[in-house]
Structures are given as C-alpha cells and as structure tokens.
Symmetry: C2
Subunit: 408 residues, 2 copies
C-alpha cells in the first residue's frame, strides 16, 4: 500500500476485482479490449507510455485524446505550477478564468463567450440546456450511433436509463441530408437544437468528415427553425483546426462543446457560444465544485498558446499523413485489406470484411507486443510530441504486425 | 494578458462581462451575493484566502467545501507531485486507483466497492443509474428543496429543463417519516431508490441532522421495496464522520455519493456501494475523459490518511463548537436573533424574521469588511487548518458585525 510501490498489471487487476465493480468501468475497461491490452499505467512522457509491467509504447491513444502536446509538456506544467502555488479551487475563480475565456473567444471564430466545466458530458449537456433555454423549445436532433457522453440522455448503454431520459431526441444519419431534413420536419415548431459531432467518429465504424452539403444543410435548418446548431468538438477540438473543427467546412455553429485536449490532460471542459445564445446561457443554472479551479485553466491557456505558436495542427497533420502513407504502403505490400479513415491526425484503422475483428485484433496485439499502442475500433490520436522518428519506429512495428495479419 | 499580472476585481468583472454570459455562472456567481462580495480570488493558503484586490480573509467557505485540510496542504500536494511526475490522465488508471478504492472500502463501513468521477453530480447521477440498473425499476424519492447537482434531473433551476427530465422523481419532506412513507407508497412496485442528503442543508433554510426515526424509516422502506438507499454525502463527506455521515445515526446506505472534500480541492468524486448493487454498478456505462487521472487520486489517498491520522473530524467539531459558542454569546449580548443550525463544523447562520435577509446580509458584509468570509444563506465549512487563534480572530470580527446588526 505504499504509494510509490509497483505492482504488476495482473496483481492490480486482482486487487481491483474486489473493490471496483467488475474490476473497472467505462471506456478504459481493459477486459472490453482484446486480451493482452494493459489495464494499468505506470507513467507517461511525450508520446510514450509505460504500463504497470514496465512495457514502453509509442502511444497513439494519447490518454484517449487529452494529450495533444505530449504527456507532461514542460510549458503547460510550468504554467500549472505557477497557478498551483497561488491556489486552485477557491471561493471564486482566479484571473485565469477571464484570460481563458478571452483566449477562447479570440481563438474560436463563432465564440462570443465561453463557460467552463470538467467533463465533455458537462459541456454537451450544458449546450442542450442552453439551447432549450434560449429557444423555449425541447427537441434535439442527434446522429444515430454518435457518442456525446455517458449520462442517461446520451450514454451508449441504456442500462439504468429510462425512456423519458431521451424523450425529446430525434435521430438522423450523419452526412445524410435527407434524414436530417426529415428529423427536423418531424419536430417542426419544437426544435431546440441540432447536435452534430465534429466528424463521424463512431466506435468501430469508418470515420467521415462532414460533407459541405451536410454542414450547410444543418446550418440552414437550424437557422430556418431559429434553433441552435451545436458542434460536439469534445473529441476533435484543437486537433483539426484551432478555430473549431467545422471551420474546415466553412460552417459556424452557435455553440460548441470542448474538453479532452484543451488543457493537455488537465481536467477541463468548455462551452463556447455566440451572442444569439448568450441570454440562454445566462439564464440556466449549471455548476460544479471544481469548475473554476485555476490550475486546469492555467494549463489550458498555456496549451492553446503553444498549439498556436508551434502550429500543432499542421505538425499533427504531417505526422498523421506520414503514418497513414506508411501503413497504406505496408498494407498493399502485405495484401491485407486495411482501410484507414477519418482525418489523418485522428484516424481509425479498420479491416474490410472483419466483422469478428480477427484481423483488427491481431494487428493491434502484434503492434502492442512491438511497443506501439493502437486501438482496434476507436479513433486514434496523434500529438504534437510525435516526431518523424516516432512515426518511423511505429511503422517498423506495424510492418511486422501487418505481416502477421497476412499470415492469418 | 500576462499570466502573472494582477487586475482588480472590478476590472476582471468588466472583462468577464464581455466573454462570459452574465459575467459568471453557477454557485460562485458573486452578483447573486450581496454587493460587496469579491468575485475573483488571487490566492489561498491554510484557512486564509486573498481576493483579487488583495484583501485577506479567514475563510469559512473553504472553496465551498473542498478545502478540508486547508488550502495547499503540504502532505497532499507532495503526494500529488509524486504522481504528477509519473503521469496524470493516461490510457488507463494508475495504481493509485486501486489503492484509493481499497482505502475507501476500508474507511467507509457500507462500502464493498468504489468508483470515481469528477463532479458531485457525476456521483449522484451514477447512483441513480446503478439503482435503476440493479432493481429494474424507475422511481426515485427525493427531498423537496434538496440540492443533488446541476444537470436537468436535479438542477435547482428548471430553465432549459423538460418535464420528462424529472418524470420519475417523487418528493418527500426531509425528516418527515409520513411524507416519506406516502411517497414510497405512491410508486409501489416501481421504486428504485430513496435519495437522502447527509443532512438537511437547503439554501437559506435552517439545517437539520437526520433524526434516527427518519433514517431508520428510510432504511426500512428501501429494504421492504428491495430498493436502494442512497446518501448524498457530496457536501458533508468526511466532515461529520470518516465512515460516512449516516454513521452518526447508525444507518448504512447501499450507496453514497462523494466529492468536494475527498481530495482536499483536487477535482474528484466517488460512488461507494455495497455488494447488493455491485452487479448493477458493473452493468451501467459511465465514464469521463479524466476520471482515472492519477494526481487527484494520489491527493485523495493523502487526504483521507491525514484526516484519519490527525483526527480531523474531532478537531473541526471542536473549532466549530468554539465558533458557535462564541457567536451565540455575542448574539445574546447584542440581542440579535441569530439562529445557528446544522452540525457545528458545517453550520448555517440565519437570523429570525429576516425574510429580506437584511440582518443576514449586514452581518456577513460587516464580517467581510473585517476579514472574515461568511455566507448569508449557504452552509459554511470549517477545516482542519482552522486553529483556535483563527476562530478567536474571526469572533473578534463577528462581534463588531453583530453590533452593526444590533444598530439596524
């Protein structure tokens, strides 16, 4: 029980099974992954992670997104330290709150204002509540299969969820203009918001950037119904475009939900919005004990400034393209049906005709055994800490992993 | 915009008004307080806080609860630092998760297991979801006027909330056995859980510890309906009893929600539960990007161990009693109708026949002007960092503040 002791992954799992339901919960639950994935991590630095058994990985999950400048980025941690010496959760916010809200408004073109919380789910939920407050209407359009958080209105599981929790959701298919129109028509007169993911990044499915036609139709439908267009940028925020992911398609939402990468791993979430929804945002009540704590805000300020200063999006795109090109060439050489999709800095690696995920699991486990942490069905993440040498080392491992797939 | 610059409270409010809806949100929104309360804080240490204008206060809000060992406790921060050097939010939990779950189970008699999140609302919401999963039923009994979080099912505001968000809630009056029985009877056959605050701590109302009769009835009704008894210990956890607040009345819940003070100001929440609800807890899906981050867990481990080691509950009770006794003597001497209620380490200070809060506001503002941070309607918090000298200095200020009330 000494805090600095080290236990093996197996020993920790056994202990956890006694004091944590099922041994673990949520998206990090390793038993939901192919056998062989580590559950516990000992440390992380840059683009590398070490599991509890001391195995080192080049990491393409980045803490499931938050690590955008690399684990333990010195500039971010120095800013966090300066604020920590003053105070973190106090009776009210620190000056960092104002600086961060100003920086978000300066960085994100649609944003006239910002509010902060802790979880991506806090941010998506606040967006819906603000949209309902601002419009006086109830219905929300959501894409089938999209992930927007893990409380009853949005959880991917319906266990413990009641029908009423989702009474005012209507569903459309991402990038399908007709289905979006039909859903909007179905709740005509009661439409509060259209909620869209930054891009289609459903678990285990090919990823798709929004089409311009889809994005423009979402904007037009929201406008004609005087409803809110909300982009859920929790997963993608600051990896595709510093101004918000839909800048890529030239469409600006009324609100966006942010979390994950905005403070390089410090717990923080944000809602940004335009003046149409300022009054609604003023009227709702949303809060949390740690929502104005200064350390994560200092970290966010340092993160956003550094992302801009080093042009991190361009770098992540270059590294992602290098990884994608390398993998494509390897897949062709080994004649395996690897199908990469999504933006190169947030790809998903799937195999054709692989419903039982035999190819995908083999590929990822063989990569894992060679020191590369990938995921067989979830979006991967590049960071600004991935250098060409890391990509090339990872490609050396994936070449052997794809050779193993070819032998199946 | 330099991160280390200092701006006045007024200047920060003016800047915030442009980039934050209404200038601030939630429970820390100073414009909802009497004019004269500071909005921004510069730093905090021990039981002292300094606002953005450099005014020092002996603090009886403790960051609205989280600060239980004092701001910046050296032992807690050292533990946080050790983990931070390794890693915080990684691809999976660190060993700290297992240690903390073991420590919660060891410390809290009803707990056979624990899970962790970030906000008190995360914990209360997970308790409800687990209760529904475990029972296959839907209805939740909630006390009228109780605060359990700030998302649509529980927010104190209904702005942006739909009727369906609360479709399965039924209401009783705290400490009223008949009303609890009637509510349980009303949803017979569909009762998932009875949710109770650790004690009645509604805003602006006299606080009440649970009566033994009420607590036993809640337990008996839950048992006879095979439903869950859930204690919301978010606000009170570890201030009244290290084993959970209802240890005071000898009644053990099936689950409890924790947050606020469990990591001395680091963002963390927890659900503890017994084996009856282990399976339900295993089946639900709940998660967040930062929920297994190691730093706040290292802080929680250090906090809980130190609270036990220094017998913090006994100390806070002694300091609270000293403050209460001093205030009562002063009120009597000045002939002002101060009515203190709630546990002494979490009191609320109200005045009789003070519906417009003229007495309460005057009292708090006069205390504030003399360097004591109180609140006119919310639960106050003592911490282990309050020493007799702090209490006595605070009492010197409240004596003058009560004299001012007497002059009204």
């Amino acid at each position: 029980m000494d805090q600095q002791s080290k236990s093996s992954d197996g020993a920790l799992r056994a202990r956890a099974m006694r004091v944590i339901p099922g041994g673990m919960w949520g998206h990090q639950n390793a038993p939901r992954m192919p056998a062989g994935y580590p559950q516990y991590f000992e440390r992380a630095q840059g683009c590398r992670t070490w599991d509890a058994d001391g195995r080192e990985y080049i990491d393409f999950i980045c803490g499931w997104g938050p690590t955008i400048l690399g684990y333990g980025d010195a500039d971010v941690e120095a800013a966090a330290d300066r604020q920590r010496a003053l105070g973190d959760a106090m009776n009210g916010p620190s000056e960092r709150l104002v600086e961060l809200a100003e920086l978000m408004v300066e960085t994100v073109p649609h944003a006239d204002w910002a509010m902060f919380s802790k979880n991506g789910t806090d941010a998506t939920t606040a967006c819906l509540t603000i949209a309902r407050a601002g419009t006086g209407r109830r219905k929300i359009l959501v894409a089938r299969g999209a992930y927007h958080g893990a409380i009853p209105w949005c959880s991917p599981s319906v266990v413990g969820v009641t029908d009423e929790d989702r009474a005012h959701l209507l569903y459309y298919d991402y990038n399908n203009v007709e289905s979006l129109e039909a859903a909007a028509e179905e709740c005509r007169g009661d439409l509060a918001a259209i909620l869209v993911s930054a891009f289609k990044h459903d678990l285990g499915k090919p990823h798709e950037l929004p089409t311009v036609a889809f994005a423009q139709k979402a904007r037009a439908l929201a406008d004609s119904a005087d409803a809110a267009l909300i982009v859920d940028d929790v997963r993608a925020g600051f990896r595709l475009d510093m101004g918000g992911s839909w800048e890529l398609v030239g469409v600006r939402p009324d609100m966006a939900a942010w979390s994950k990468a905005i403070a390089n791993g410090h717990a923080l979430a944000a809602v940004t919005g335009n003046d149409r929804f300022r009054e609604g945002a003023t009227r709702i009540f949303t809060t949390g004990s740690f929502w104005t704590a200064g350390v994560s805000m200092a970290a966010a300020i340092a993160t956003i400034r550094k992302l801009s200063a080093v042009d991190a999006v361009v770098h992540m795109r270059a590294m992602g393209q290098r990884f994608r090109d390398g993998l494509d060439a390897q897949a062709k050489r080994h004649s395996v049906p690897l199908r990469q999709s999504g933006p190169v800095q947030m790809p998903v690696l799937l195999f054709e005709s692989d419903a039982d995920r035999r190819l995908g699991d083999t590929f990822c486990l063989e990569a894992l055994a060679r020191g590369v942490y990938l995921h067989p069905s979830h979006t991967l993440f590049l960071s600004a800490a991935h250098r060409e040498t890391d990509i090339d080392m990872a490609l050396a491992a994936t070449d052997e992993a794809l050779a193993a797939v070819a032998r199946l």
